[in-house]
């Protein structure tokens, strides 16, 4: 009897122990599988998040990488890798320069509907109807040949030359659109799909909420996504706009590593460039943060409105360039962070004339040059233009506009701008400083009568496509037939010819100064040390998110 009692007791103990173990392992498993992360964007253009209209701003491109898949794609190492396709496309056997591809098995949209060859065909039609630029061109020149639900061929519709190369490059960017949702291959900016997109990427957009100036986009993991490394445990991503820079800083600096679901959870990742040197030091000293430099093809400049008096003269613009000692500003304000530039390209992306030297001259010399151009310094040390035909005198005065999101209080840009304005004051040039909020800035920038100078930063793709600066988005109004012709040569040429053409463009811009080219900064991102394998490559942005991981908080 005693033996049976003790046996029963032991069995109960073992069962209880097993139950406890089961409960623990379930809890651990749940914990491991359920991590979210939150990151900050300075602004989110949520009015369009689709592949056609939502491609204008970098934040839209980043959102797109959560939502959409491609047939194959660029990874963060700048290699093509299969995405929806089983492998990278192969040349067709018929010798017609086509590409064949097979989709991964059992692909589904987030709503459970199968993703098939028909969706690929449909996507090509949408890009043909509503796309722009070279993606549309490639789709126009692509004939879709369905083999079965998973297999298809992309063959030339006309131009055969380099079809395979161009199609490989273009389809690495073309995001696949669901046929069963859009139904017809047409998309207008007013369609609901543009704001509530659905794709087959790692996440799906769950909700958009707005509180005043703040926007929050909640992305939930797409249960049917083929994305993700074995370590990929991110089930939820919140992209938030935090217009207050101070709040962003507090959020990332807070050491709170509480559960993601906890209400006081703070920002995990900050990809925006920090321009305040003191803040950089502070962030770098935080034990719970890591930081990483990443490449960005961008430069800071003063755009000169060449439609305006004085600024239409190249000789005058050259003197404005002479007045700014870029290297001194860089040394004082961007130590080891910025590089001087003399033209519209960045050396790191392949095109740059290194023999060109930054212009700089002492104030006295510049004033002498101004005098030769017909200017005088009046008794109040103001630079005055004397009209040679009428003798009428007018003071030289410019309105300099800038975006307050870019030139932040206490930031390096603010200090740099102050320095530049001081230099112009020394020359007797009066500058009206005009800081504007993002929306207003864009509006005023497009009104060429409003401004004379603009302190700006431009960001480009890694393909060095600077043509829009002098065509569609020609802020400065600088037009030169020789430059326009060279830009056409540049667009059409490749490799060595492109290099040479780019160098001629650089030289032209240096000689004619449509912009005062200042410097280039490689930004740094900051993130909590519980996140691993983060890579940001602005050519692909978040394509590597499938490799990221978040440790238990």
């Amino acid at each position: 009897m005693k033996i049976s009692q003790s046996l029963c007791g032991s069995i109960v103990q073992v069962v209880v122990l097993l139950l406890l173990l089961l409960l623990c392992s379930t809890a651990i498993a749940q914990g491991q599988d359920y991590f979210g992360m939150k990151y900050a964007e300075p602004v989110i253009h949520d009015e369009a998040l689709d592949p056609i209209y939502g491609r204008q701003a970098q934040d839209q491109i980043r959102m797109g990488e959560f939502i959409y898949s491609r047939l194959w794609r660029w990874n963060s190492r700048l290699n093509l890798e299969p995405d929806l396709c089983v492998a990278l496309p192969k040349m067709t056997q018929d010798g017609k320069n086509g590409l064949s591809c097979t989709l991964k098995p059992d692909l589904k949209w987030p709503d459970g509907r199968p993703l098939t060859s028909d969706d690929i065909d449909f996507t090509i039609l949408v890009y043909r109807s509503n796309g722009t630029g070279y993606l549309k061109k490639v789709c126009d020149n692509t004939k879709f040949k369905r083999i079965d639900d998973r297999s298809f061929e992309l063959v030339p519709n006309g131009e055969i030359s380099e079809f395979a190369l161009k199609t490989r490059l273009a389809f690495a960017k073309i995001q696949i659109i669901p046929k069963h949702i859009l139904l017809e291959p047409y998309l207008t900016p007013k369609d609901s799909y543009v704001k509530q997109p659905q794709g087959s990427g790692p996440f799906q957009l769950e909700s958009i909420s707005k509180k005043g100036e703040k926007t929050e986009l909640l992305f939930k993991r797409n249960q049917y996504s083929v994305e993700g490394s074995p370590k990929f445990k991110i089930n939820e991503v919140k992209a938030v706009t935090e217009p207050s820079f101070a709040n962003q800083m507090n959020d990332i600096k807070t050491t709170n590593e509480m559960s993601y679901d906890n209400g006081d959870h703070k920002i995990d990742l900050l990809i925006e460039e920090i321009s305040n040197q003191q803040l950089i030091y502070q962030l770098r000293s935080q034990g719970h943060l890591k930081h990483q430099r990443y490449a960005r093809n961008s430069w800071t400049a003063i755009a000169l409105n060449t439609r305006k008096n004085h600024l239409k003269s190249t000789a005058f613009r050259i003197e404005l360039d002479n007045a700014i000692d870029d290297k001194k500003i860089i040394k004082n304000l961007f130590p080891e962070a910025a590089k001087d530039i003399t033209g519209p390209f960045i050396r790191d992306y392949g095109i740059y004339v290194d023999s060109l030297r930054d212009r700089v001259a002492p104030a006295g010399e510049i004033i002498e040059h101004f005098k030769k151009q017909g200017y005088i310094l009046n008794e109040d040390n103001q630079l005055v233009w004397v009209d040679p035909s009428t003798g009428k005198k007018s003071k030289v005065e410019f309105r300099l506009i800038f975006n307050l999101d870019f030139v932040r209080s206490g930031g390096r840009e603010e200090q740099a701008l102050k320095n530049i304005i001081q230099q112009y004051k020394t020359l007797g040039i009066h500058i009206i400083k005009d800081g504007l909020k993002q929306g207003v800035f864009n509006e005023k920038m497009s009104d060429s009568t409003y401004w004379d100078m603009a302190f700006v930063r431009y960001t480009f793709g890694w393909d060095n496509n600077i043509t829009p600066l002098f065509t569609n988005y020609n802020d400065t109004g600088y037009r030169n037939p020789q430059l326009l012709n060279e830009l056409k040569v540049y667009e059409k040429s490749r490799e060595a010819a492109k290099k040479r053409s780019g160098e001629r463009i650089h030289q032209h811009c240096y000689d004619n100064v449509p912009y005062l080219f200042l410097w280039h900064v490689d930004p740094e991102m900051y993130y909590r040390s519980i996140i691993d394998n983060v890579t940001i490559t602005p050519m692909t942005f978040f394509t590597s998110i499938g490799q990221w991981s978040v440790s238990p908080r």
Binding site: R77, K290, D348, K499, G502, M539
Partner: protein
């Protein structure tokens, strides 16, 4: 009163005479860099980190020009002391040594970039723009590089990826022979740069590297032969001289005659004191490769360091050529990433990373090497690279890292930036940077 006036006048006259003697007739030596105020020439070269004291910026070629200018200035106007002349001679030999290392690393980088562009990168690279197809209208010389020389290079690198060996191989193929005339008039590496093609001859880097190797050997020979001076700088010179000899000569190496038991003991002692650990690893692995030391003795030397991966580093260094890679055990235990970032030795940690990357290169595991190198340089800047690397082979390490890390296209702009920072005033490194820029332009288009 008159006496007082005479006394004051005498004192003033004496004062003026002394002032004239010590401040005008015998001026202090010129500041070598005109930017930093080190009194000692050798120190000046060693620690000249470029303008504004920017970290890790070692401009060896510019420093060589500055050194020669300084030498010319002081010998023109007065007879400098023997100590100063010795210091200049040591500095010159040191710079030759660093330039040998830097240009041999450049030869590897130029080879890898050129091969990717014209022969094709490793299969793991799926950027469809590499290699370039149908490059037309090449000049005769450029066609010879693209169609012949690069093929030979590719075969050589399959056998041996050691940058010093590569430089030697290139120098043997070269038709240029007069190094003396080239030291201050570097050769042209760019073969074609027009609308049709951009081609650089990687062999020029190897040849130039060998020139500096010969110059360094001669300079050290002159310093060390019949010189009984002791001191750490002369010990360092001795180590570098032996490394140069060991890399210059084949089996007939006279190292056997120079390396005696007493010398081997000094290696252990220096390693124990943490003195020139970088060079001691180089010489120990070299002596091991040449079978002058056996493995046991070599290991005993490097294990005197406090570096936790001393033996692994020695194994990698002595077996890190394709020819000898069989000596590496297949199951070699490499440290994890977390173990690597925990290392705090600013000299040996990068050396270990470089050699692990070379090991992966030997085994054709190119992506692994590339990921390791890129993580080390860029992934988590709060740990690596250290803020200040006060070690003198920075350009060599940077260039080799670029060669092994170039397969991470997302970081290519950052590599060009790093290369730019050390290419100032150096014609050949400037040409290498043009090649690197071209590579990026092709890959990013």
């Amino acid at each position: 009163m008159r006496r007082i006036i005479i006394l004051v006048s005498t004192i003033l006259a004496l004062g003026l005479a002394l002032l004239y003697k010590y401040m005008i007739l015998d001026p202090p030596p010129l500041d070598l860099t005109l930017k930093r105020g080190y009194g000692d020439v050798f120190q000046n070269i060693q620690f000249n980190n470029g303008y504004d004291g920017k970290t890790n910026l070692q401009e060896h070629y510019s420093n060589l020009l500055l050194l020669e200018k300084f030498n010319e200035d002081i010998t023109k106007d007065y007879s400098p002391s023997n100590a100063l002349m010795d210091s200049i001679q040591l500095g010159r030999a040191q710079l030759y040594y660093w330039l040998w290392e830097s240009y041999s690393a450049s030869a590897l980088l130029a080879s890898k970039l050129s091969l990717d562009l014209y022969q094709g990168p490793p299969k793991s690279v799926t950027n469809p723009k590499l290699p370039l197809h149908d490059v037309e209208n090449l000049t005769v010389k450029a066609a010879r590089i693209v169609n012949n020389a690069l093929v030979e290079l590719s075969v050589h690198l399959e056998r041996n990826n050691n940058s010093m060996e590569l430089a030697k191989f290139m120098a043997n193929q070269s038709t240029i022979s007069n190094c003396d005339s080239l030291v201050f008039s570097p050769p042209q590496a760019t073969i074609q740069d027009d609308n049709n093609a951009f081609v650089v001859d990687p062999y020029v880097f190897g040849f130039y590297s060998s020139c500096f190797q010969s110059k360094a050997i001669l300079a050290y020979k002159e310093i060390l032969e019949g010189n009984s001076q002791s001191g750490t700088e002369y010990y360092k010179a001795n180590l570098q001289y032996l490394i140069l000899l060991g890399n210059d000569l084949d089996e007939k190496s006279p190292l056997n005659a120079i390396v005696n038991n007493e010398f081997i003991l000094t290696l252990s002692d220096s390693m124990k004191q943490g003195l020139y650990s970088n060079l001691i690893f180089d010489i120990t692995s070299l002596l091991l490769q040449k079978k002058i030391l056996n493995y046991e003795n070599a290991r005993n030397i490097v294990e005197q360091s406090k570096f936790p991966y001393a033996e692994l580093l020695l194994t990698l260094m002595s077996g890190n050529t394709i020819a000898e890679s069989d000596t590496l055990e297949k199951g070699i235990q490499l440290p994890t990433w977390l173990e690597i970032v925990a290392l705090d030795d600013p000299v040996l940690a990068p050396k270990l990373v470089e050699n692990i990357a070379k090991y992966y290169d030997v085994r054709k595991e190119y992506s692994k090497g590339s990921i390791l190198i890129n993580n080390f340089w860029f992934a988590d800047a709060s740990i690596f690279p250290p803020k200040v690397w006060w070690f003198d082979n920075y350009p060599k390490f940077m260039l080799l890292s670029y060669a092994f890390g170039r397969l991470d296209g997302g970081r290519l702009p950052l590599w060009v930036d790093n290369l730019y920072q050390i290419s100032n005033g150096d014609k050949l490194l400037g040409e290498l940077m043009e090649l690197a820029k071209y590579y990026n332009m092709v890959a990013f288009y």
